[in-house]
């Protein structure tokens, strides 16, 4: 049987009588690229915060890298990576210093950090910039670097929250090359995006509508099921039915 890296069972988050996340259940396999889609306000961010061990569920449970989001949050944090469009690196530290800092926080040994950080900088083609402040890099480079840093400690899963927002079309594709490579090395990718062409690059897609998971399948099967020729149309058909609006 395929190894499950996320097992989510009837996960629910309630704020008063508002169900931000309403009994969502799904599994994600090792090395899978799992697209987590939904309209603004559908509950994606809330669900993702729970899965990252940053917020408790009201009911239900999820095992992330084998640990429960109810009572093993610290173990979850050690076994995942996270990056978002907003959270980037420390702008006033150099590339190497950022790798050293985040590697250290995630418990990578000093020796390993030293050995691997130059290699990483080389792979990214950033040798000349290695000692420059991250703040001076163009956005696309920052995002590629942030992704590399988020998987530097070999997490089982990496959560990517709109990693390519505002990035140019060429860099966006280079970013997805890196996602494929990470996936091939066994890291599970959990990714949100507003670019529907990127939805096609995922192994499976889930679509949240009003706190519920309304659809979950491969992009191909979803297009067949909804009689659509594109993921944009699938998403539009599902999300148009939403009653909630906003963040």
């Amino acid at each position: 049987m395929e190894e499950k890296v996320i097992v989510c069972k009837e996960l629910t988050k309630r704020f008063g009588d508002f169900y931000a996340v309403d009994k969502i259940s799904f599994d994600v396999s090792k090395g899978e690229i799992f697209g987590f889609l939904g309209a603004n306000g559908a509950g994606k961010t809330t669900a993702m915060r729970i899965l990252c061990g940053l917020s408790y569920p009201s009911s239900g449970d999820a095992l992330v890298a084998g640990f429960s989001v109810r009572n093993q949050q610290e173990s979850i944090k050690k076994n995942i990576g996270y990056m978002s469009q907003r959270f980037s690196l420390y702008e006033n530290l150099s590339i190497l210093e950022n790798i050293e800092f985040f590697g250290g926080v995630y418990g990578v040994s000093r020796k390993e950090i030293k050995d691997r950080s130059y290699k990483l900088v080389g792979e990214l083609g950033l040798q000349k910039e290695a000692k420059k402040m991250v703040g001076s890099l163009p956005l696309g480079w920052k995002q590629k670097l942030a992704f590399s840093v988020s998987i530097f400690h070999h997490p089982k899963i990496v959560f990517l929250d709109e990693p390519t927002g505002g990035v140019d079309p060429v860099t966006r594709r280079q970013f997805w090359d890196m996602i494929y490579d990470a996936s091939a090395s066994g890291i599970t990718i959990f990714v949100t995006t507003h670019y529907m062409d990127e939805a096609e690059y995922c192994n499976r897609i889930s679509v949240m509508v009003d706190g519920k998971m309304e659809a979950l399948d491969t992009p191909g099967n979803l297009k067949t099921k909804y009689g659509s020729d594109s993921m944009e149309d699938v998403f539009y058909k599902l999300a148009r039915a939403a009653k909630r609006t906003g963040d």
Partner: protein, 318 residues
Amino acid sequence: MPEASILVRDLSKTYDKGSVLAVDKVSFEVKPGELFGLIGADGAGKSTIFRILTTVLLADSGTAHMAGFDVVRDYRKIRNLVGYMPGKFSLYQDLTVRENLEFFATVFGTTIDANMDLIKDIYDQIKPFSGRRAGKLSGGMKQKLALCCALIHKPAVLLLDEPTTGVDVVSRKEFWEMLKKLKAQGITIIVSTPYMDEAKLCERIALIQNGRIMSVDTPVNIIKSYPGKLFAAKSNDIYKLLKDFRAHPEIESCYAFGDYIHITLKDPSSSGLEVLNRIAMENNHSNVQIKEIKPGIEDSFILLMSQQKDLVQLTTTK
């Protein structure tokens, strides 16, 4: 309402004592009543251009005119003439929806009622929340309020800086419907976006990267000027197909595009379908589908970026 044009000539702007070139000799023109798009990624220089046009930032060199007024000499006139929705939500978070609108109306020496006809369609959608503080609104509602505030003095020119960034597909469609209605009222609109698929909703567009305009034309003409043939391919293992094509000497460019790969060939006279099928066969791909397709704006953008190698150099050595 008089229709207004925008004229930008050789505009340049640097930051950090000249070390960062944000806008590099940009020239373009927006016709009266036109819906014009500035298409490019974050950091391309779009917001800097908007800030110079709205007279809140001075250019290093070059000129810009809005409805015939110079952005430096006639800045007071221009400020009454333009509505500006910055990329970052900039309304008063502690004022209610209604109070924000009243504030902006008063600043411009008018009233909400005097201009209700222009904003009614949009305002009706946020009216149920008119007593709510702006900071407590959802993203979509904030966006609509910001648009109302930018329109409350009946501007001749509306500047919208990335109004749809981070917004889902459904809300994006709604927003563009609103823009169409505003355009129908004769307002000149210049809108920026990082989403290439929104380019086709504009009458004319400028493709901008690293402070430079790579192309200005109608979306149809930009696509028409795409040289050579573009092919789309897929197989059972699309990622391996991408790598195999990329490694082959006859392939010029090859990149993922949704559920297909888009490919151009080095030799334009070769029979593309034959070449590509052969490469796929040599690499043992199954369920191979290859077809010639019409390029989109994103394909044009990628091509233009690759032609400007010095731009790529600039990004890596900065």
